[in-house]
């Protein structure tokens, strides 16, 4: 039961890319911070993303997950620290910049336009064109064919690429967005809470696509607040809390229980149980929570001892 944290400075200095065996990470953040006015949203976050690896970023609401991905995706600029892409220092001015650097993001709200047909959404912002000068036009047939083929390759069986994307289910839309990122040659794929709004079965489907993207050699950043979704697919886990990193683990060094405990925060759960008791909560429920608290605090104690 000892969870060995990755030493963040060691990480950036020594570790080699597992595929290319070069000491350069596909993407790395070093002590990155961001504040909005006088609100500090993120401080001192260090992480690395490599080809064919899934890095999970875990944290509760307001932990800074969204800020982190917005910096990587080019929607916001960081104020502190350094962002490297393939060893080169970068700061993105716009999402277009990040896309050109090979970073594709699948947003929580999916960045799809519900009223537009699937194929128009698939190629939005990167349309294929034929012809010259004023007669330059979209290659509609090719775009439709590619959309259908790419989605079929991801195992998504589509009825009609002409239907508005708003008519698809949440999981299907998620998969279209992932397929789009993969097709456009993304090197880094950021997934912002892809399973948050999905049912169990749909979540499973999306997790499978994450592994598929990984197997194609992409560096995946998987943002979630659900350790049960993160653990099976992740290779590394970065835990955020109130804008700070509270742990960074390799999969071999941590168990699902420890991950859950770290996320939940044993002390807070204990407080909740106490409050419920005072409110005269149902006896059975309180006991159940207390039992859970006992388990969680045990493992947290272990973890803090190990890391401290």
């Amino acid at each position: 039961m000892d969870a060995k944290q990755i030493d963040q400075r060691e990480l950036l200095r020594d570790e080699k890319d597992p595929l290319t065996h070069t000491p350069v990470h596909l993407l790395s953040l070093e002590s990155v911070g961001k504040h909005y006015g006088n609100i500090v949203a993120l401080t001192d976050v260090t992480m690395a993303v490599d080809n064919g690896r899934v890095t999970c970023v875990l944290g509760d609401n307001g932990a800074g997950k969204s800020t982190l991905i917005k910096i990587i995706a080019g929607l916001h600029q960081h104020d502190e620290g350094v962002l490297h892409i393939m060893g080169e220092e970068r700061k993105f001015d716009s999402p277009r910049d990040a896309l050109d650097a090979g970073i594709a993001t699948v947003y929580q709200d999916l960045a799809v336009v519900p009223l537009m047909p699937i194929w128009r959404n698939f190629f939005l912002g990167s349309e294929l064109t034929t012809g010259f000068g004023p007669f330059k036009r979209m290659d509609v047939q090719a775009m439709k064919d590619i959309t259908k083929k790419e989605l079929a390759d991801m195992g998504i069986d589509l009825r009609d690429v002409e239907q508005p994307i708003g008519q698809l289910s949440g999981g299907e839309r998620q998969c279209v967005a992932i397929a789009r990122a993969v097709y456009f040659g993304a090197k880094v794929l950021i997934l912002d809470e892809p399973t948050a709004a999905l049912g169990v079965k749909q979540s499973g489907v999306v997790l499978r696509y994450i592994l598929q993207a990984r197997d194609r050699g992409l560096g995946v950043i998987f943002i979630t607040h659900n350790p049960h979704h993160a653990f099976p697919v992740g290779d590394r886990f970065l835990l955020l809390k109130r804008g700070r990193s509270i742990g960074y683990y390799d999969k071999k060094d941590i168990t699902l229980d420890e991950l859950t405990a770290q996320m939940a925060g044993g002390a807070e759960l204990a407080e909740l149980a106490h409050e419920l008791e005072q409110l005269g909560g149902h006896g059975d429920v309180v006991k159940q929570v207390q039992a859970e608290v006992a388990g969680v605090t045990d493992s947290t104690a272990d973890t803090s001892r190990a890391s401290g």
């Binding site: 995706a73 947003y107 960045a111 979209m138």
Partner: protein, 351 residues
């Protein structure tokens, strides 16, 4: 039985897709409600008035439609792009006044004034779009302000420079005839004089449809209207697209402004107020969603045609023109309800 049927069908079709026959496909288009309305209205006026279907009268209806339709092209695109413009009506007059007053005051060739008017019209569009993008205010407020300012400028500058409420006549100036031939002339087709604005209108609709459906700019227009944040996130230049749309509206305003000028040779500085609603109404009747992201240029054209038919048809039917506004309001209401149903259907997710 069913087995053999599915077997005989090749695998290209998916059994979950109910076969969409051409009629169903047509019903899914944004302008279909307007088209049905236009046909009903045409049959109605053809029945109540003998003159309505005569070529001459019909040419007049087309002309009336074109003066709304030219603007409706730009306004429809803008509405699909998620914005609308209340300054269009007076901006048309601003453009016409610029051309006439400049040429008259400096005694220059009319064409120089015409080109200057183009610059002014595009600038008005650019400024509208730029302020909108900078301040992120609703386009209702920004263009309402432009509308008021332009109304004042039209009246004030015309009085200051020309000393009256209308621009001085420019009919005897250099270049007037050639400009009139371009912006306000007629083509004789089988003994019927058809105003050339009708052809300009049709050409603009064709170009706008092509841009909208077949170019990447068209894709961007749908996207910025449907969901500007999503569009930005996938790399669509949202600001440039929206500013460009306002400038396209400015361009349409320039064409109509030049037509107004050369149809008569002088312009009343107080005109144009209220016309902006006619253009918006034409676009909405034509199936453009007020909230953006859905619609067509052809729809806006059909909307303008409905307007033209109702406007002139009431005269040909020898009714009191007072009824016209009632018709217009009714059409607008019906059209918006149809649009609402379309949007609900398109939005409905299967969960």
């Amino acid at each position: 039985m069913t087995m053999t049927q599915t077997m005989s069908k090749p695998a290209v079709t998916d059994e979950r897709v109910g076969r969409r026959n051409p009629l169903q496909k047509l019903l899914g288009r944004p302008e279909v409600g307007a088209l049905v309305g236009a046909i009903v209205l045409f049959i109605f006026f053809a029945a109540v008035s003998q003159t309505f279907t005569q070529p001459n009268a019909f040419a007049t209806v087309l002309y009336g439609s074109s003066t709304i339709g030219i603007m409706a092209v730009g306004v429809s695109l803008l509405m699909i792009g998620g914005e609308f413009d209340l300054s269009t009506g007076v901006a048309v007059i601003s453009s016409a006044l610029t051309a006439s007053m400049f040429s008259w005051y400096f005694s220059m060739n009319v064409w120089i004034g015409v080109l200057l008017a183009l610059v002014v019209s595009l600038s008005i569009g650019f400024i509208n779009g730029w302020i909108l993008m900078k301040t992120k205010l609703p386009s209702f407020i920004v263009t309402l302000a432009t509308f008021l300012m332009l109304t004042g400028l039209n009246l004030g500058l015309t009085r200051m420079i020309g000393g009256g409420v209308s621009s001085p006549s420019i009919s005897n100036m250099d270049g007037y005839e050639s400009a009139q031939a371009i912006f306000s002339s007629s083509v004789n087709i089988g003994g019927v004089d058809v105003k050339n604005t009708v052809f300009i209108w049709i050409a603009l609709v064709a170009i706008a449809s092509w841009v909208l459906l077949r170019t990447k700019v068209g894709n961007w227009i749908f996207a910025v209207g449907g969901d500007a944040n999503a569009a930005r996130a996938v790399g669509v230049p949202v600001k440039a697209t929206k500013i460009g749309l306002f400038m396209a509206v400015g361009f349409c305003g320039w064409i109509l402004g030049m037509h107004n000028l050369f149809a008569f040779d002088a312009v009343q500085s107080g005109e144009g107020v209220g016309n902006e609603f006619l253009y918006i109404i034409a676009a909405v009747i034509g199936g453009c969603l007020l909230t953006g992201g859905y619609g067509s240029a052809v729809g806006g054209a059909i909307g303008a045609f409905i307007f033209g038919m109702a406007n002139k048809g009431i005269v040909y039917a020898q009714w009191n023109p007072d009824w016209f506004k009632f018709f217009l309001g009714l059409m607008l209401l019906l059209a918006t309800i149809v649009n609402l149903i379309v949007k609900r259907r398109a939005d409905s997710s299967k969960g």
